[in-house]
Amino acid sequence: MSQAKIKVENLSLWYGAAQGLKDVSVEIGEHAVTAIIGPSGCGKSSFLRTLNRMNDHVPGTRLTGRVLLDGEDIYARGQDPARLRKRVGMVFQRPNPFPMTIYQNIAYGPRVHGQRGEARLREIVEQSLRRAALWDEVRDKLQKSAFELSGGQQQRLCIARALAVEPEVLLMDEPASALDPVATSKIEELIVNLKESYTLIVVTHNMQQAGRISDRTAFFLSGELIEFGPTRDIFTRPRDRRTEDYVTGRFG
């Protein structure tokens, strides 16, 4: 495994009085796919959202510990969350396109970040859509509303939208949970292809999926990181009893 892109040190997170994450420490490798698994409510989304400071917008959250991106603490004073999120993109569980055309959905981010010139933007739109394996399906209707796409297409549009601002890290929160098997396999294939250029962290409920796409896997339980290691080890010879119970389907 290559060097660490993200280093999380003793991270704890509270929602008001309730603790969502408990003293989590982990190193996430560059150009790799890291899967996050665990039962519902164990803190997978919470963890993911600390990596791009999305929890800043949830009232009542409090956080201790450090998150280092390329060695720099993203929670240090003077760090700009918007700049951080341009580097650490996010794809959500439910497709959430903007109320605009397909084209605008993708061009919006680059344009806000200073990319002018319609020709260059068109290039970015096409390239992003191609990477998200959506281009062939939408090339003739770029000026249609994004809401006219199917759920799976919308999700790939959201992936393309995230890619268009050229992040370094891509966080994906159950990106395929609302999709049928065909769309799911498209997105899985996409994730594997993307790791050449990006560092990916993918939350999933689906063990087989974690096995297919990820290099390393982190298992969470009640806000704690129980085990973290190469995906094959987690599934074939877990060190912790609770991990074993979970991956063999004995609970969760």
């Binding site: 791009n52 999305m54 917008h57 009232p59 918007a82 700049r83 951080l84 999120r85 341009k86 580097r87 993109g89 996010m90 959500f92 439910r94 959430n96 396109p97 903007f98 109320p99 605009m100 919006y108 981010g109 806000v112 970040h113 509303s145 809401f147 959201c158 939208r161 995230a162 601002v165």
Partner: protein
């Protein structure tokens, strides 16, 4: 739990009830229209189109015996009923109110939903709703006691000095009563209404979509421009039109600060004006003394014109708003 057979019956009953209420509202509107039309019919016959284009309002010589007669209806000698100044007064004061209120109200709505911490936003929300409920006569009194002296002494001369190169800001400020005062009073009245509705519509913007924007590295303001405003645009537009409807029909507050002009077309922002609604009230007393009844018919025709105007403004606004709210978190 209802038995399976019961649900459709309840469902149907509900639908029938909704139908009756909706139909009742429509019938009531129609009844008002018919009533106004009948009451103003003699005036419509007497004045024809001149009613809308004439600038002189004169209920004639009520004490002589001479009559003038048109199309078979009679009015006191010398009577003319032209309401163009009132139409203009209404439209211009409402326009000023909307131009001032919209940015302010949308700003307040955004502040409440996007910028203030939850608790502060909620208490401010409450204040906005209180403001929306202040009786208009109270605001009129405030206009009379505070706003008008301020315009007459400070704001008016200042406006003249700064913007005097634009013709509409030239002209005598006078006491402070007039178009500007009316517009400001109306703006004060409709800002909370538009702000409260804007807040409700903005709250409907799905959190996921807003997070999607933040997730791309957009700042909060960029997120608002990318997601919240487009998502809420039709609803905010509906709120604005609703506010406009309110301004067009406002009576008491405007009556108190407008200067109650008749026979006078507004020349600039300081001109005294009369609005349609305010004129009906201010002219009613003298109109009642007209033995032919024509003056009252003419006032009824003003009401008819105002009614039609309000319907034209309100119906599309309601439709926009209800579809914006129904759409809720879903796709547009």
């Amino acid at each position: 739990m209802a038995t399976p057979g019961k649900v459709p019956i309840l469902d149907r009953a509900m639908r029938v009830a909704t139908g009756i209420v909706a139909g009742g509202a429509l019938v009531a509107m129609l009844a008002i229209f018919v009533f106004l039309l009948r009451d103003s019919w003699p005036s419509i016959q007497y004045n024809g189109g001149h009613f809308l284009t004439g600038i002189t309002w004169n209920i004639g010589n009520l004490y002589g015996n001479s009559m003038s007669s048109h199309n078979g209806v009679q009015a006191p000698a010398g009577a003319t009923y032209g309401i163009l100044p009132f139409i203009l007064g209404t439209l211009l004061s409402s326009l000023i109110a909307v131009v001032l209120a919209v940015p302010l109200a949308v700003g307040i709505g955004l502040l409440l939903v996007e910028y203030l911490p939850r608790r502060l936003g909620d208490s401010l929300s409450f204040i906005v709703e209180m403001l929306a409920g202040i009786p208009s006569v109270v605001i009129g009194l405030w206009g009379l006691a505070v706003l008008i002296p301020w315009i007459g002494r400070d704001f008016g001369p200042w406006l003249q000095a700064v913007l005097g190169f634009i013709p509409i800001f030239r002209g005598p400020v006078g006491s402070g009563q007039g178009l500007l005062a009316s517009g400001l009073v109306l703006a004060v009245m409709i800002t909370p209404i538009i702000a409260a509705t804007t807040r409700d519509v903005l709250r409907q913007t799905p959190r996921e979509t807003k997070e999607g924007a933040l997730g791309l590295g957009l700042t909060r303001w960029e997120m608002i421009r990318a997601v919240s405003l487009p998502w809420s645009a039709s609803g905010i537009f509906g709120a604005v039109i609703l506010g406009l409807g309110r301004a067009l029909g406002e009576t008491m507050a405007v009556l108190m600060v407008s200067g109650s002009a008749v026979n006078y077309l507004p020349q600039n922002i300081f001109s005294p004006i009369g609005t349609m609604a305010a004129t009906i009230v201010s002219q009613l007393d003298s109109a009642m003394t007209d033995p032919t009844g024509m003056a009252v018919h003419a006032l009824a025709e003003i009401a008819l014109v105002l009614f039609v105007m309000s319907v034209v403004v309100n119906v599309p606004a309601r439709i926009l708003l209800s579809s914006a709210v129904r759409r809720g978190g879903d796709a547009q």
